[in-house]
Amino acid sequence: MSVPELSVIAPSYRDRDKLGRLLASLRAQTLEPARFEVIVVDDGDEPALALAPEDLAAGVKLIRQRHAGPAAARNMALRHARGRVLVLVNADGVLAPDALARHLDHHAPDAPARAVVGRFDWLPEHDTPLVRALARLGIMFPFERLEPHADVPFWGCWTGNFSVPAAAVRAVGGFDESFARALWEDVELGYRLERAGVPVHYDPDIGCGHDHAYAVRAWVRHAEWFGHEWVRFAKKHGGAAFPILGGADEPTEELARQCLAGLLHQHDPHRDRVVALEHALDGGADVAPEALDELDDLIVAVNTVARMKGIAGAIWGFDPDALAERAAAVERPTVVHTVAGSWDFDTVPRLLDVLGDHADLLVASYIYVPPGALPDDPRVSTLRVPPTLPVEQMWRPVLDATAAEALIFLEGAPLPTGAEVRALARFLGISPWVGAIGLAARQGLPHTSGKLVASAPRHVVATTRRVLALDPGGPGSFLDRLPERALFQVALTLGGS
């Protein structure tokens, strides 16, 4: 059996529609087929991948693994690779006909080991103002910041169009499979290769197209994951190896707290900026040259906030998908209105007006609730509590009476406005480590803003079922015990947005 010189490795997950184009580009290579093998790893796609007859005839090898991410998939292929040199490509890549030949030229058997990164350009149909701006700003595939035909920093180790001696990858222990997403796993390998004396070399003449459409929302989530996975990288190699927020930050609790403070301040503007970017970019129209600076500012701001979200989440044990789930779970709060006397029943209709369709109302009553005392409204439910129950212990029976994740406790006047209730729920979604949010004075800021405080204002307090479930109970309010649980308190000031 002849041994190929190159092993082309393509992990594939939910890219089955694009894989055919990659494999076609491999069949069209100028390099003789006997000099390379192709290994496709089906990363647990459902249904399982099947190769087309022409790919089977070309000897493409297909390995199926339990879904574990591209790092694990490449390691799986590495175990079976017979080539002296690995060429790592994406399933959504389209190689130029001479790409493999050019890669091979860099890896003469007696040459010092080095990795080679080629171009990974968006195909014309995906080459949008967004991706051009991301490259221009150094956020995603900033090839223009790499010196052509020279060794480049390890962060240029992008495995969409990349070659490296197999022995070098094996010597550093392969990809780190704890980087389970298509993010940082390649740069992290580049870091270890560089430290092992294998530099990354940039050759812009090795062409490869990138068959991937990017919309604003997808990129924002990507940026959150970028921050999240940076924490994994920084814990392994130190934050100074890749300063992410403009400084030599380390992934500490203090950094997470700073990020949380920034998120509380920037939450609403960030939301508005994302909407503005969608409006400007997702339509596909070009951006006027005079608007580019403003667009760049928006992108940089969104990128920073999104990364902060990912960083804080990673340090505190929540990934961006989990955070998004929690944000959705707290969107519709239950407002708890305590009734101590019959006059409190009169407040209920006004409360329902304020809440609109955005919340439910739980009337926790110390007194008998006579028929007709409360409006017949599906948003309203009733809880009878014993007269001896201290008001600060009210949350205990409330947890059993409602399944809502977000709870807003009202303690006396003034009642919150509908905007305040919505803002409380919105800000609860920022971090599961926010223990309670209290309404501060309304000050007419440009936008609603939260601030970390030692003790939240208490007349309207929002919290979550998760936070209450962490409370061991005891005398006094759960609010008093939040510091012991390392949970934060926030004062919310409603602004103009």
């Binding site: 199926r64 339990r66 574990a68 694990a72 390691n75 590495l78 222990g173 499979e177």
Partner: protein, 547 residues
């Protein structure tokens, strides 16, 4: 209050498995060294040598088919390394068989328990292989078959030529399935009841208590278990569609059958394949049976327990269901006489060398069984105090594994009892050199042997070694007897006195002390003239065991 902790639940989903996993995670190598979990029958040298021979043949086949180039590193993975004895014996056998192949071999010694792996790598029989770079420790959970985490932080970067495991198919989740004459299928359900103080939250409390202290003696055996059969739709019973077909293939045309079906291990085999070289082989050993008639009919199935871990005997005919459904080739042992059964699986078909080796080395009489049988026979004759016959069986064991210090120790000690001192000294001295872990009290036994052979200076030297390792009244008394015999009464006196200090109830030391006083008196009367007076029972008599 007597409450139901677990309602009737399919056996493989019972809460007992939580305890099972917690036990393994918490117990560490003590599970084996304490004798709670057996290991000798699968980890002894002849067994390891037999598997090393198969590995050798598989490598030859892989080279012949081009999956491995001569000179390539050859990777094999042991899943669930136990106390590391098998791994050490395997590599020892491979070194004797083919030193060049040993140097190319990278033996991944793995366990899913970090505690166990951490303890195993420090074992004296394992550590030297790791230091040589031949053995590579890895965390590996057979429930997550494609993830190999090397202990130094890397990952597996080569495909495996060989996978070997012992006692694993019986401890991965399995279902007990029954086919009845009416064509219906049933699975074994388990119900757990217990006495509790408060019924509220009893299940959660019970589980958390159990898991928190999963190594408590006989915890699992003390659960009150009730078994029953529940009717199931075989085609909907498993996550993977092939299982129902494999079960049907196993049962064949039997009108009624009861099968312990190790689907957890078969899932593992399927998911392991991407890690294997084309032509790579999986070998597993387990206890159980091999006859088809042992699955026919309806009968009760109950799990067996080792410590607090679950186990069940495997009927190896279940492996016969794999080839017709998955197209794999299976070689397995087929004699009910074997103490442990083996199955080798190759998804791409075995090569000629492996097939031939399996036919000769696995289907014929197996030296590992000889070892176990000789061992058992020797113990039986020792109980009957027929030491010479016992020794003959131990010497056969030594022939099968000349480098096992335990066998040498047993042979030497038995030779002493048989009054064959030269034989005893030969085996005890060889065993002493082999016992780098100092697991056995060779120095004490050598003291006895030399003493009984009349070489008192040598005997004292060995007793001093034993004494330096740990003070023991028997050793001290034996030393005292020798000193007294040679007239060193003061030294003898201090030996006896120290022995009595250590154990005030040790009668032999007290007797010897009294005797010493008499001897001193006699010497005094005779004016210490000439050579030391030898008492009537001149030959110093040693006590046989220091413990």
């Amino acid at each position: 209050m007597h409450v139901t902790i677990e309602k009737p639940t399919p056996f493989d989903r019972s809460i007992q498995w939580k305890l099972h996993h917690a036990y393994w995670a918490q117990r560490g190598v003590d599970a084996w060294s304490s004798g709670e979990v057996p290991w000798l029958s699968t980890s002894n040298f002849p067994t390891a040598r037999q598997h090393a021979q198969l590995f050798h043949a598989v490598v030859a086949d892989l080279e012949a088919r081009g999956a491995l180039a001569p000179g390539d590193l050859v990777w094999l993975l042991e899943g669930g390394c136990g106390n590391g004895r098998f791994a050490a014996n395997f590599l020892r056998a491979l070194e004797l068989l083919d030193p060049a192949l040993l140097e190319r071999t990278r033996y991944l010694i793995s366990d899913y328990s970090e505690k166990n792996l951490g303890e195993v790598v420090d074992q004296p029989h394992v550590a030297p292989w790791i230091a040589r770079g031949v053995m590579v420790p890895a965390l590996y959970d057979m429930n997550d078959p494609q993830r190999v985490r090397l202990r130094d932080g890397g990952t597996l970067t080569h495909a495996l030529a060989f996978f070997v495991s012992s006692y694993v198919s019986c401890v991965l989740p399995m279902k007990h399935i029954q086919k009845r004459a009416d064509g219906s299928w049933h699975e074994l359900l388990v119900e757990i009841r217990a006495d509790v103080d408060r019924p509220e939250g009893a299940t959660e409390r019970f589980i958390s208590d159990l898991v928190a202290d999963a190594t408590r003696y006989n915890l699992l055996k003390n659960l009150e278990l009730h078994f029953d059969w529940g009717e199931v739709d075989l085609d909907a019973l498993f996550d993977h569609g092939s299982h129902a077909d494999v079960v049907r293939a196993i049962v064949g045309d039997a009108e009624e059958a009861t099968v312990g079906y190790p689907y957890g291990f078969f899932d593992f085999l399927r998911e392991l394949q991407p890690l294997m070289l084309e032509g790579g082989v999986v070998l597993t050993n387990d206890y159980g049976s091999v006859s088809r008639d042992r699955i026919e009919g309806r009968f009760e199935r109950r799990p067996q327990m080792y410590g607090n871990s679950l186990a069940q005997d495997i009927n190896f005919t279940v492996y016969d269901g794999l080839p017709p459904v998955l197209g794999w080739e299976v070689l397995r042992t087929a004699s009910e006489l074997d103490s442990v059964h083996a199955a080798a699986v190759c998804a791409h078909g075995f090569g000629p060398a492996a097939r031939a080796l399996f036919a000769t080395h696995y289907h014929q009489r197996r030296p590992s069984d000889d070892l176990l049988d000789y061992n058992a026979a020797a113990r039986t004759y020792i109980q009957k105090k027929e030491y010479t016959r016992a020794l003959r069986f131990y010497l056969r064991c030594v022939d099968l594994d000349p480098d096992d210090p335990e066998l040498r120790y047993n042979a030497g000690s038995t030779a002493l009892d048989a009054a064959l001192y030269a034989v005893a000294i030969e085996h005890l001295e060889r065993g002493y050199a082999l016992d780098v872990e100092k697991r056995f009290d060779f120095d004490f036994q050598l003291g006895r042997a030399y003493s009984l052979a009349g070489r008192h200076d040598d005997a004292l030297a060995w007793y001093r070694e034993s004494h330096a390792r740990s003070e023991h009244p028997v050793t001290l008394t034996n030393m005292g007897v020798l000193h007294a015999y040679h007239g060193r009464y003061a030294t003898a006196h201090s030996c006896y006195a120290r022995a009595i200090e250590l154990d005030p109830h040790y009668e032999r030391a007290r007797d010897r002390l009294l005797r010493l006083k008499e001897m001193v008196w006699e010497d005094a009367v005779k004016g210490f003239v000439g050579a030391p007076i030898v008492p009537e029972d001149a030959a110093p008599r040693d006590e046989g065991a220091a413990s």
